[in-house]
């Protein structure tokens, strides 16, 4: 009660590595929500008791006013902590789309809540539409060219077998440990996903 668990939730996210995503803390979130409803029922009880007294609200004792104030502030606090937690995680969920593309690996996906997974899908759709060639799209893939280009091609080593791929309009089989010069924009997502590694020239 009184914002303690809520602070715990925020602290957990604050300490987390900005590049990593923790497992969604369903348990703690629902405890904070439960507490919030408890605070609210305290308020309702006081309000309904006071309204039944002959003097009504005007004559309410300061001790009741102070209690309502404390519960009210506690609800606001819980709300802020919950939303900040949700918002920070939503930012990370969106970052996943930029880093990994439209499909999340299972070991990442399982860390998200159901709402977050849907949020990822919705964001993927929105971003895809914006970058796409439809009427609302600019027709430019913004997830590549993340660094200033030095050469149209970069040298890469294959880390794991990803089968045959269409690269630069040619079918290439990426055999582990082999090296290739690949168009930057085509190599970028494969590097981010850990299929290729970029070799320094």
């Amino acid at each position: 009660m009184f914002g303690r668990k809520a602070a715990e939730l925020v602290r957990e996210e604050y300490r987390a590595d900005a590049d990593k995503i923790n497992t969604y803390n369903e348990d703690l979130v629902s405890q904070v929500l439960e507490e919030t409803r408890e605070h609210y029922s305290y308020i309702r009880n006081i309000v309904s008791r006071v309204s039944e007294e002959p003097s009504g609200f005007a004559g309410a004792a300061p001790k009741d006013g102070a209690a309502v104030a404390i519960h009210h502030e506690s609800i606001l606090r819980n709300k802020r902590c919950l939303l900040a937690y949700a918002n920070t995680r939503a930012e990370k969920v969106r970052a996943l789309r930029w880093q990994l593309g439209a499909v999340l690996p299972e070991n990442v996906s399982e860390k998200l809540s159901a709402a977050e997974r849907d949020c990822f899908k919705a964001y993927d759709k929105l971003l895809g539409e914006y970058m796409g060639t439809g009427p609302d799209g600019i027709g430019i893939d913004l997830t590549v060219d993340m660094l200033p280009p030095k050469d149209p091609y970069i040298e890469c080593q294959v880390l794991r077998d990803a089968g045959a791929m269409l690269l630069d309009d040619k079918v290439v089989h990426l055999v582990p440990h082999t090296r290739h010069f690949i168009k930057r924009a085509e190599a970028e997502p494969l590097i981010a996903q850990g299929i290729l590694s970029h070799i320094e020239s």
């Binding site: 009660m1 009184f2 914002g3 602070a7 925020v10 602290r11 996210e13 604050y14 590049d19 990593k20 995503i21 305290y42 006081i46 004792a61 300061p62 001790k63 009741d64 006013g65 102070a66 209690a67 104030a69 404390i70 009210h72 502030e73 506690s74 606001l76 606090r77 802020r80 902590c81 939303l83 900040a84 918002n87 920070t88 970052a95 996943l96 880093q99 990994l100 690996p105 990442v108 993340m146 660094l147 200033p148 030095k150 970069i154 190599a187 970028e188 590097i191 981010a192 996903q193 850990g194 590694s197 970029h198 320094e200």
Partner: protein, 194 residues
């Protein structure tokens, strides 16, 4: 931090945690039903008038102080002794131990304590001293000193200090031609070693 934009830092984790810092208050009224929760020595449902407790700052800054249910006192980390210590030698005081969010905490206290100009001045003087004695070492402090320096800094100081260190590191990385290299997505774990 800024008083001007209402709610601008609503989602900011650091701003939220700064408000966890505790403030001593004197209750000017009794309070229904929160006795045991707010005062460990209390054996009654209601909190009694005249009780002194420490409350987190977020709880004191709203109606509780506005409607004079409580009187807010100055927390220990801003008392005269601390002030003297800081004025004597700002660079050696362990501020983090006093409060991990010394400045943000202090600034919002200023508002609760009727725009306490003296406290505001003290915060500025403190930062000035710490900037000169600690933060300016940001770009060139040797790694072995950094841990010791950071141990006595508040979160806010560390952020500024690390900003300088980060840019030196990015610069070094650039000179070694390592920042035009594409990496695996950080979320997938393994990162290229420096």
């Amino acid at each position: 931090m800024g008083a001007s934009a209402i709610g601008a830092d609503y989602f900011d984790l650091e701003a939220i945690l700064a408000e966890e810092e505790r403030v001593p208050v004197l209750f000017l009224t009794s309070v229904t039903g929160v006795g045991r929760a707010l005062d460990p020595s209390c054996d009654d449902d209601d909190l009694a008038e005249g009780v002194k407790v420490d409350l987190p700052q977020w709880l004191t800054k709203g109606q509780l102080s506005e409607k004079r249910f409580v009187e807010v006192r100055t927390p220990k980390c801003f008392n005269e002794r601390v002030k003297k210590d800081i004025q004597a030698d700002p660079g050696v005081v362990n501020l983090r131990e006093r409060s991990a969010f010394f400045y943000a905490f202090g600034r919002s206290l200023c508002r609760i304590l009727d725009n306490n100009a003296e406290l505001a001045d003290f915060l500025l003087i403190t930062f000035r001293g710490r900037y000169k004695d600690l933060l300016l070492q940001s770009h060139f402090a040797p790694d072995e000193d950094v841990q010791a320096l950071k141990r006595i800094m508040t979160r806010e100081e560390i952020r500024i200090f690390e900003a300088g260190r980060q840019s030196m590191q990015s610069f070094t990385q650039w000179r070694q031609r390592k920042d035009s290299i594409y990496n695996m997505a950080p979320i997938l774990g393994k990162k290229r070693k420096r």
